[in-house]
C-alpha cells in the first residue's frame, strides 16, 4: 500500500528570544494510505508540531515531507494554501468554527475556494452534515450547538472537500466522555467507510485505541511502532 505521508529526517525548532528550542529531532514517519494513526506523547513532546508539518501549515528546519504525493518543501506559500484546500481536512481541539456563520455556512467555507456552483456546494454541504448526523441543525449557529455538535460541524467542514487526509489535533480534548465517544466513532467511520487516512494527536488512550497504529513522541523523538 502506498504511503499517504512520508516524513524523512525532519528537524524543527522554535526560537524563544535568543534561545533555540528543539522540538522535533530527526523524525521519520510513514503513514500508509487509509491508515488511522494516533500520535501520543506528553505535553511539549512535539505532537502538534509534527501534525502541523504534515498538514502543511508549518515548515521544517530540515528534512522532507511528502504528503499525498506532493513534496511540501517545494511549494510556495500560495501553492501550499491551494494544496491544503485540496488535500487536508483539519479538525481542531476547540472546533474553531466562525461564530457568525451557521453550521451550513461554516461547512461551506472551504468550498468557497473551489469553482463549484452554488447548487453543487449546497449538495456537498448537505451530504457532509448528514454524514456527521447534523442534517437537522444546518441553520444553527455554533453558540446554539453543544460542544459535541460543534465538533461534528468541524468534522463536516474537514470532509466537505473530500480531502486525501484528515489531521486532528486533540479532537476530543474539550469534550465530555459521551460526546468524545460519538466523535471517535464518527472518525472511525470516516476511516473505515469513507477510506480516509487520519492522523490524530491525542492525550487520551481511549481515543488512541480507535487508531490502527499508535506512535509515541517524547522529547522530539518517535518511539517504536505500536500496531494494534
Amino acid at each position: 500500500m502506498a504511503n499517504v505521508v512520508d516524513v524523512r529526517d525532519v528537524t524543527k525548532s522554535y526560537a524563544r528570544g535568543n534561545q533555540k528550542i528543539p522540538v522535533l529531532n530527526n523524525i521519520s514517519l510513514s503513514v500508509p494510505d487509509g491508515e488511522f494513526l494516533a500520535l501520543m506523547g506528553p505535553s511539549g513532546s512535539g505532537k502538534t508540531t509534527l501534525l502541523n508539518l504534515i498538514a502543511g501549515i508549518d515548515r521544517p528546519d530540515a528534512g522532507s515531507i511528502n504528503v499525498a504525493n506532493t513534496e511540501l518543501g517545494q511549494l510556495s506559500e500560495s501553492a501550499l494554501a491551494n494544496w491544503r484546500a485540496r488535500h487536508v481536512g483539519f479538525i481542531f481541539q476547540f472546533y474553531n468554527l466562525m461564530p457568525v456563520l451557521t453550521a451550513f455556512e461554516n461547512v461551506e467555507l472551504p468550498l468557497l475556494l473551489t469553482k463549484l456552483p452554488k447548487q453543487k456546494r449546497r449538495e456537498h454541504v448537505h451530504s457532509a452534515l448528514e454524514i456527521v448526523g447534523l442534517g437537522d441543525r444546518m441553520k444553527h449557529y455554533p453558540s446554539q450547538l453543544s460542544g459535541g455538535q460543534q465538533q461534528r460541524v468541524a468534522i463536516a467542514r474537514a470532509i466537505v472537500t473530500d480531502p486525501t487526509i484528515i489531521v486532528a489535533d486533540e479532537p476530543t480534548g474539550d469534550l465530555d466522555k459521551d460526546s468524545a465517544d460519538e466523535i471517535l466513532t464518527l472518525m472511525e467511520r470516516l476511516n473505515k467507510e469513507f477510506k480516509k487516512s487520519i492522523v490524530m494527536v491525542t492525550h487520551d488512550p481511549r481515543a488512541a485505541e480507535k487508531a490502527h497504529v499508535i506512535r509515541h513522541l517524547d522529547k522530539g523523538v518517535l518511539e517504536d511502532i505500536n500496531h494494534k
Partner: protein
C-alpha cells in the same frame, strides 16, 4: 454564502462597537462637510466671478472715492464694452444685525454688465423708471417678508440720514453661485440726496464696474485704465473681479487656513477611530484568520475580508454622515443667516464637498485596514492557532 456576506456578518459581530465607530465617522463627515461648506461659502464670490469684468477702485483703498468723470474716459479704452458706477452704501436696516450688502449703482449699465441678476421685464422697467426704486435679492426678500411695492428704510452711516426705497424688483440668481442677498438702488438718487446734505461728496464713485469684450483683453484694459489715471489726484487700481473678490477672502486667509487644517484633522481623527476598531477586530480574530489560512484561504482573501469590513464601516458612517449633513447644514445656514445676516449668501453642501467626503471615507476605510491586514497575512498559522486573545 458569499465572502461579502461574511464581511457584513463580521462587521456587525460587535454591534455596539461597529455602530459607535460608524457614528463617529458620520459625525466627523458632518463636521468635515460643515467646515468645507464654510470655506466654499467664503469663496463663493470668487467662484461666481466673471472673466470679462474688471473692478476699478481708488489705489489708496476702497474707502477713497474717484471722480465720476473717469467713467467716460474708461469707456473710451478699446475693448471696454460698458462701465457702471458703484458705491458701497452701508447703512442699517432696522437693526445692525440685519446685515446685507447695499450698493448704489447706475441701474441700466450695471444690469447689462450683470446678467446673472435676473428680473422680469416689468420689474426691470419699473426699477429703471423710478429714482428711489431698488431691487433686492430673493433670499433677503423672503427673509424679511418684502414684496414688490414695499418701502424699506435704511439708516445711513457712511451717508447719514434716513433713506427710503421702494422695492420694484426681486431678482433671482442665474445659478446657485449668484448672491441673492444684495440690494441695489440708483446711484443718481444717492448723488442727488448728497447734493442736498453734503454737496462736497457729489459726483464721486466708490468703484467702477468695467465690462471687457474678451478675457484676452482683461490684462491690457486693466493696465490701460491704471496708466490713464497714474499721477492723478485719484490713482486707480484695476483688477479682475476674481482678484477683487479674493482680496476680501485674503483678509480672512488665516481663518480659512485654520478651517482647512481642522477639516483635515477631522479626517485624521476618524482614521484613528476606525484604525483602532480594525486593530481590535484583527487582534480578536487571530485564531480565526489562522483557521481560514489552514482551510486554504490566501493572504488576498484575508485582505479582502479585513479591507471589506473596514470599507463597509467607513462607507456606512460616510453615508449616514452625508445624510445628516444635508438637513443640518441647511439648518446651520439658516442659523448663520439669522445671526450673521448675509455674511454667507449661499451656504449649501456642494457636490465637490460630497465627493471629497466620500473619497475621504473610502481612503480612511482603506488606510485603517492596512496594518491589520499586514499583521494577519504575515502571521504564521501555527502561531495563530496557539494564540490566546
Amino acid at each position: 454564502m458569499k465572502i461579502f456576506k461574511l464581511i457584513i456578518k463580521n462587521a456587525f459581530r460587535h454591534k455596539l462597537r461597529s455602530v459607535l465607530t460608524a457614528l463617529g465617522i458620520a459625525i466627523a463627515v458632518l463636521a468635515f462637510g460643515i467646515l468645507r461648506t464654510v470655506i466654499d461659502a467664503w469663496y463663493l464670490g470668487v467662484e461666481a466671478s466673471s472673466q470679462t469684468r474688471l473692478i476699478t477702485r481708488n489705489k489708496v483703498s476702497l474707502g477713497f472715492p474717484m471722480p465720476i468723470s473717469y467713467r467716460e474716459k474708461i469707456a473710451q479704452i478699446p475693448g471696454v464694452t460698458g462701465v457702471a458706477i458703484g458705491q458701497w452704501f452701508g447703512g442699517v436696516y432696522i437693526d445692525a444685525k440685519n446685515f446685507f450688502a447695499r450698493f448704489a449703482v447706475e441701474p441700466e449699465s450695471f444690469l447689462s454688465l450683470y446678467p446673472e441678476y435676473v428680473l422680469s421685464a416689468k420689474e426691470k422697467e419699473d426699477f429703471l423708471r423710478e429714482r428711489n426704486a431698488c431691487i433686492v435679492g430673493a433670499k433677503i426678500a423672503a427673509k424679511y417678508g418684502w414684496k414688490l411695492g414695499d418701502t424699506i428704510r435704511l439708516i445711513g452711516d457712511i451717508f447719514p440720514g434716513d433713506w427710503d426705497f421702494v422695492i420694484r424688483g426681486i431678482y433671482h440668481g442665474a445659478d446657485r453661485t449668484t448672491d441673492e442677498t444684495q440690494m441695489f438702488f440708483h446711484w443718481k438718487y444717492l448723488d442727488e440726496q448728497l447734493g442736498l446734505t453734503t454737496p462736497g461728496r457729489m459726483g464721486q464713485a466708490g468703484i467702477f464696474y468695467v465690462g471687457v469684450a474678451s478675457p484676452d483683453d482683461v490684462v491690457r484694459v486693466a493696465e490701460a485704465i491704471d496708466a490713464m489715471f497714474a499721477n492723478s489726484m485719484a490713482e486707480t487700481k484695476t483688477e479682475t473681479e476674481k482678484e477683487f473678490q479674493m482680496s476680501f477672502v485674503s483678509m480672512v486667509g488665516t481663518i480659512i487656513t485654520t478651517v482647512r487644517v481642522i477639516s483635515v484633522v477631522v479626517i485624521a481623527i476618524i482614521l484613528l477611530v476606525l484604525a483602532n476598531t480594525m486593530a481590535m477586530t484583527a487582534r480578536e480574530r487571530v485564531t480565526e484568520y489562522a483557521v481560514l489560512k489552514t482551510l486554504g484561504f490566501r493572504p488576498g482573501h484575508l485582505g479582502g475580508l479585513i479591507f471589506g469590513e473596514s470599507l463597509f464601516i467607513a462607507i456606512l458612517g460616510g453615508v449616514v454622515g452625508l445624510l445628516l449633513s444635508l438637513p443640518i447644514i441647511d439648518g446651520f445656514g439658516e442659523f448663520l443667516s439669522v445671526n450673521l445676516g448675509s455674511f454667507f449668501p449661499v451656504f449649501e453642501l456642494s457636490r465637490s464637498t460630497i465627493l471629497i467626503a466620500v473619497a475621504a471615507a473610502l481612503l480612511v476605510g482603506v488606510a485603517a485596514a492596512i496594518f491589520p491586514t499586514f499583521k494577519a497575512t504575515r502571521m504564521r498559522i501555527a502561531d495563530g492557532l496557539r494564540y490566546i486573545g
